[in-house]
Symmetry: C2
């Protein structure tokens, strides 16, 4: 690795002071894991002082504390704004310790005061029922990053840095999480960071060498290979390798000084109009022992510096007097009497290190994005309405219509809105964006590249993980965005969505966390239109996945046409603290509603389409419900057939935009009251529900409704291949002909005409299938079909 | 990059021959995308010869064909067994073309014969309704890797190579997919490959420079950085950079020769007992133009060598005579008359290149794992039974009991079984495995490392993606395995599971694909016991995810104790072509059944536990159903309370091991017939169902059952934190006390005693909560509870 410039930058006093701070943080970390009483060790430690359940992760904590201490020093020295992203977020007690030392914790949680009483509470609450989680959770000031699932720290860091030119995001990457795919992909995020416009990310790879029971890969490949790897990522690595604290302090101060010099130089050059190319950003490789300063040997086995230091190094101090003695000696090794006065208040030597006010990393406003949030300047979506000559008479690509509005959203919010997608913005027909902006790209470009520039506001990379992680980091620091992706492949980020949903759920109960902009998905290459991609690209199950999350967090919209899509996206971009999933087609489709109708329909979330129904003034014989663009078209085509051939049949058409309306209002805030539901869906008539995704979703949302026994759902049943659009709906029995058959089979007493029609439908399916097989295209009666106004 | 040793290894004849083969493959690729007639261009091309819908991916295809041609040559020269893994699997027509040239395609699909008739069929079927998918799908001989979702090629390649010492797995990695997280993590798989025991993986990074609309990152970082990166991964990269076909042939022949020399040397050394350390494996970087040899300019815009070559370079040859002429000229540039005789049979020059028989990559038996599959030697699980002194009287860690059996499974199948997990095998209490084997690790080791060796059969890496991908590759090539992971974080691989499920679904209809071993998940760190990890580690939704897949593919088991877990895992390891999800605890839990009872219970899949019920001979007043270890314990505790305090209440206890039994037999092969279901669950009594996961699953599986209106489900409702086990069930109203309340609220006419009991339950919940808050532990009445035989 590159040696830092100055070998011993700290004076003796500075060294003593930063070491005192570090020991204080380590002491408070151990105290949280072990102690329920006697926090200052003012009396000899007894078994009764120890918590009954010992939970927490010691191993990574001393390293996290070392980084925290040195960043704090640099903040003061250089007047920096720094966000600390904790990759090894299971080291929760370390971060809590620092925020308590800085005073932020006591400001936000006054009962946990910065004195002996507060210290006792600090220790007791940790990883205790009714207390705080063991990880760096939303409750921890200064965090934007839950310490649960590993792999997302570095992408969050980049998301935080985008459009935050004055922010330095220091990201500790654990060598465990470095083995994950998402983290491995994150390194080259630096290709998308513009030093002139964005802040800086300083990755600090924490090589403590071990996971739970294994060594880590990056700690065991040759050092030369590791350096080569990190340079391959475009970084200049500075190394801090030591087992001696005082040496480590000097090395870290030097490395950090050099890295910050480099960053300052990079930014200076870029902001003076230097070439907007990816520079070689610095990073730090910190090789220090796992469980550093903790017990070396326990029960005859080495602990510090091994995987055994991962969680609780001394597991049984309450039962084993030797372990109790070892714990006391460990705690006293930090010399707490030098760190805290008799009242438990940190002494001056400790308190001189951390910065004050919002300069404290625990108080950096970027970590509480809601306080930084500024509403988007949203152009009036009604001005982007597609004129409707009547239901089904205009053909529109919904996402192309949306693209014009999104273009102007981008244009009007150049400091706080970005569009994210895995190389699909243009193919999803949102290409209008490129009339006002580019794709951001800091690597080499060549003539002929299409809308690439360092200043672009569209972020395209072939990784759903990166799109999601960048956007999460961007939102969590108070900005806005939309993620557009293939419906099937958004499952790539299922687990990330879980973590973000959990974060949002928890923050709703934390008063000081202000609401942030919602996480918005636009899934436009959906299950029904994978004409050339086929079966592998068909999966509508992301909806199933998100509706397991807390009802207050989740919304799912299936706008049936361009105008309803515009209304829906405007609503999503105005919402806060939600996960909005919007599924809408990019292919040419009929426009059903004019803008006024679309607004009114979306306002209700679901409703009867009177213009398509013929049940005015009477209870219908059958309800044809639909959700999703393709099911809506098939339903209306089926209604056309029914009204032509069985004009006496009273048909009601219901369209659902807001899927959560189907749930009872007791289950979801958007849920329809039972009485309203019964009014729309009747209490006893057959309902044929044509649904965009897996039919189980509709049953799951409606099983408590009165008329559920008469609900029959068609949807995707995992049948598909490379074929035509209509063949796809036929393969899954969602086609117009099959919907007519479903109606005939469920409405009693329709007589001979219906029986005849039923056979005609079977024949029509066969003809369409045969035509497609022979000509490779859908039958003209399908491709040329238009809604003709119902009664013919 | 490293230059290859010999600059021009091909003689003129060899060069002509391999170029002819390559041109033939390219011609057949273009033919598949465009032609429905006139396959040999025996007459001038007309619009009528063109397919109506032009679908397919040209861009990557010429590169894939080049690699195929040169690998084939080397197979013949060096008598190799090679598996070809196609990362850019959307280049389906390229792989199909090669398999047709080799004859394999016609052997498996005789109507697509290797002549003009067959060629017409070959062209017509491609990406056509009723034909074949546009990607490298299961239908393609020689493939183990669907070309849908990107990112998994290299992990599949490694999975295929493990325990296949004579196999060379050539893996073309697209520079698009190289941006994904899973692919980025895959490179260091070489740390887990033992050259003495395993086969070799030869990554071929295909830098054609572009994705759909963007350049790729790896093609645009400095060449020096790329080399540094690949060396950081532990590889020695050989470069092939050319736009000139004849030069490219020489370069590729040289690079491949050098790479294969290196591999041979590595294997020779390792197999002669050399140091079992990770060598520097070779790889190839192939920098050739996207859409190489295709149209250079279309409508004034550059196409070949740009992103516009991604799919169909000439989009409108039917409509645009200039495009038609360009297409004809493009096709004729391959000189088809030199490649095929008048009957469409490939000429000798073309046919001399490919190898014969099973040496053809399209016929390599490893790519049709079922034909290689040998059953596991399974020790009799009954010999590992935990003795039962009576229901609930023994305390057992179920996974520890299973570990003994798994240990012996490993020991008895050292050539065909591996255990995969993200650093959790020991923490999941399967550590008995380490008495017979180690964790495989080829990087540096140090004294004190715990069971690491090059010969280990346990694969641990902190990446669920890698575990999944390696195991998939291992299964697809005819071996067996188990993946153990946290329940919450198995969502990381949701999307990979989708793809594997789709692969299995499709292969069921392909006669020549033989069944492979099932993909087995053991999820033992489950939602209810995240005592120290808390909310971020709680998510039981993987079950919801998998049950959306085709019923024939998916099984979900929730064994309630150690003996049922043994029976279940034996069943899973004997099954074929399934995805088995087993959720079972690792914590100390009561043993409910002896082995005979466990076998009988698992055989039925669900059943009445008569020993816990008191409804003998009569219809019960209430059914208490349960699925999962924790819900089972809470249910039995509730039953104990009910039978003690309301002895007149007739209670039936039903336990569900095989979740799919709940579905109608019309929906799932394991589904219970309605009549059986009614017999067990009654048609009209209240059912209180304590379920392991999200309650919606149970409703979704049972909504068609007669008694569904009386079904009330308790489960995880997304409430949790770092807390005690009993506090967790209380937070979600799944605790014994709440189940008793649920019974009282739903069984009419229970009178004053029940009202009194109800209040006592509310009080008990409050006491438990208070005790936990004060002492940090569960109340002793909970921790010391034992099933006491019902009637007290």
């Amino acid at each position: 690795m590159t040696a830092a410039v100055t070998e011993s930058p700290l004076t003796g006093v500075e060294l003593d002071r930063i070491d005192a701070y570090w020991r204080a943080a380590n002491y408070l970390t151990v105290g949280q894991i072990y102690l329920r009483e006697n926090p200052l060790l003012s009396e000899p430690l007894t078994a009764g002082h120890i918590k009954p359940r010992l939970l927490g992760h010691w191993g990574t904590s001393p390293g996290l504390n070392l980084v925290y201490a040195h960043l704090s020093r640099m903040i003061t020295l250089r007047d920096l704004s720094v966000l600390y992203v904790t990759g090894p977020g299971h080291g929760g007690p370390a971060l809590v310790a620092n925020t308590w030392l800085e005073g932020t914790y006591s400001e936000l949680y006054p009962t946990v005061s910065r004195d002996a009483t507060g210290m006792t509470r600090l220790f007791r609450q940790f990883s205790t029922p009714g207390g705080i989680p063991s990880h760096v959770a939303p409750e921890v000031p200064g965090s934007i990053h839950e310490g649960g699932e590993l792999g997302y720290s570095l992408m969050h860091a980049y998301g935080a840095a985008f459009d935050n030119p004055d922010l330095l995001v220091a990201c500790v990457v654990g060598d465990g999480e470095a083995e994950t795919g998402p983290l491995a992909a994150s390194w080259l995020s630096n290709v998308f960071l513009n030093p002139a416009r964005d802040g800086a990310v300083l990755p600090i790879l924490h090589l403590n060498g071990y996971k739970i029971a294994n060594p880590t890969v990056l700690a065991r490949i040759p050092a030369e290979d590791l350096r080569s790897l990190l340079r391959g990522y475009g970084h200049e690595p500075y190394e801090v390798t030591s087992e001696d604290p005082r040496e480590a302090h000097q090395l870290m101060a030097a490395a950090l000084g050099s890295a910050l010099d480099d960053i300052a130089q990079i930014q200076r050059l870029a902001r003076r109009g230097g070439p907007a190319r990816r520079p070689r950003w610095p990073m730090i490789v910190m090789r220090t022992p796992k469980g550093w300063t903790g017990p070396a040997i326990v029960d005859g086995l080495p602990v510090a510096g091994t995987f055994r230091a991962h969680q609780v190094p001394l597991p049984h101090p309450r039962e084993d007097p030797r372990q109790l003695a070892a714990l006391e000696s460990w705690l006293r090794s930090y010399r707490p009497q030098e760190l805290f006065d008799a009242d438990g208040v940190p002494r001056d030597d400790v308190l001189l290190a951390p910065p004050r006010g919002n300069a404290r990393m625990s108080a950096n406003p970027a970590a509480n994005g809601g306080v930084m949030l500024r509403d988007l300047a949203l152009p009036d979506f009604r001005e982007y309405a597609v004129p409707s000559p009547g239901p089904g008479l205009a053909d529109v690509e919904p996402t192309r219509a949306l693209g014009a509005w999104l273009r102007d959203v981008i244009d009007a919010n150049r400091d706080r809105f970005r569009l994210f997608g895995p190389d699909e913005v243009a193919s999803n027909r949102l290409g209008d964006a490129f009339t006002v902006t580019d794709r951001v790209f800091l690597a080499d470009t060549v003539p002929g590249d299409d809308h690439l520039s360092p200043d672009g506001r569209v972020m395209e990379v072939l990784s759903e993980h990166l799109c999601q992680g960048w956007l999460e980091g961007y939102l969590l620091t108070g900005r806005h965005g939309v993620f557009t992706s293939y419906e099937a492949f958004i499952h790539v980020v299922d687990s990330m969505v879980n973590q973000h949903a959990k974060w949002l759920k928890v923050t709703r109960d934390i008063a000081w966390r202000r609401p942030i902009a919602s996480l918005n998905y636009l899934l436009s290459s959906h299950v029904w239109r994978q004409d050339h991609n086929g079966f592998s690209h068909q999966d509508p199950g992301f909806i199933d996945h998100v509706i397991n999350k807390k009802a207050e967090i989740v919304r799912v919209y299936l706008p049936p046409d361009a105008n309803t899509l515009l209304v829906t996206m405007d609503r999503c971009l105005r919402s806060r603290n939600l996960i909005n999933v919007v599924v809408a087609g990019k292919q040419v489709e009929p426009l059903w509603l004019d803008m006024a109708e679309a607004q009114s329909h979306c306002e209700r979330g679901l409703g009867i389409w009177a213009w398509a129904s013929n049940d005015a003034g009477v209870e219908p014989d059958v309800v044809l419900a639909c959700a999703g663009d393709v099911p809506t078209m098939e339903t209306l085509a089926a209604v056309g057939l029914l009204r032509e051939h069985l004009p006496q049949l009273r048909v009601r058409v219901v369209n659902v935009v807001d899927l959560m309306r189907l749930q009872p209002d007791s289950e979801h805030p958007n849920g329809l009251k039972d009485k309203q539901f019964d009014t729309v869906f009747t209490t006893d008539r057959p309902i044929i529900f044509a649904y965009h995704g897996y039919p189980g979703v509709i049953h799951r949302l409606t099983y408590r409704r009165t008329n559920h026994p008469n609900l029959h759902v068609r949807g995707y049943k995992e049948e598909g291949t490379t074929t035509t659009p209509f063949d796809m709906v036929m393969l899954n029995d969602l086609d117009r002909f099959h919907l007519v058959i479903d109606v005939i089979d469920r409405v009693p007493g329709l007589g001979a005409t219906a029986a005849h029609l039923r056979q005609a439908m079977i024949d029509a399916r066969q003809q369409c299938r045969a035509h497609t097989r022979e000509h490779g295209e859908d039958h003209p009666t399908i491709t040329q079909w238009r809604w003709s106004g119902g009664d013919s």
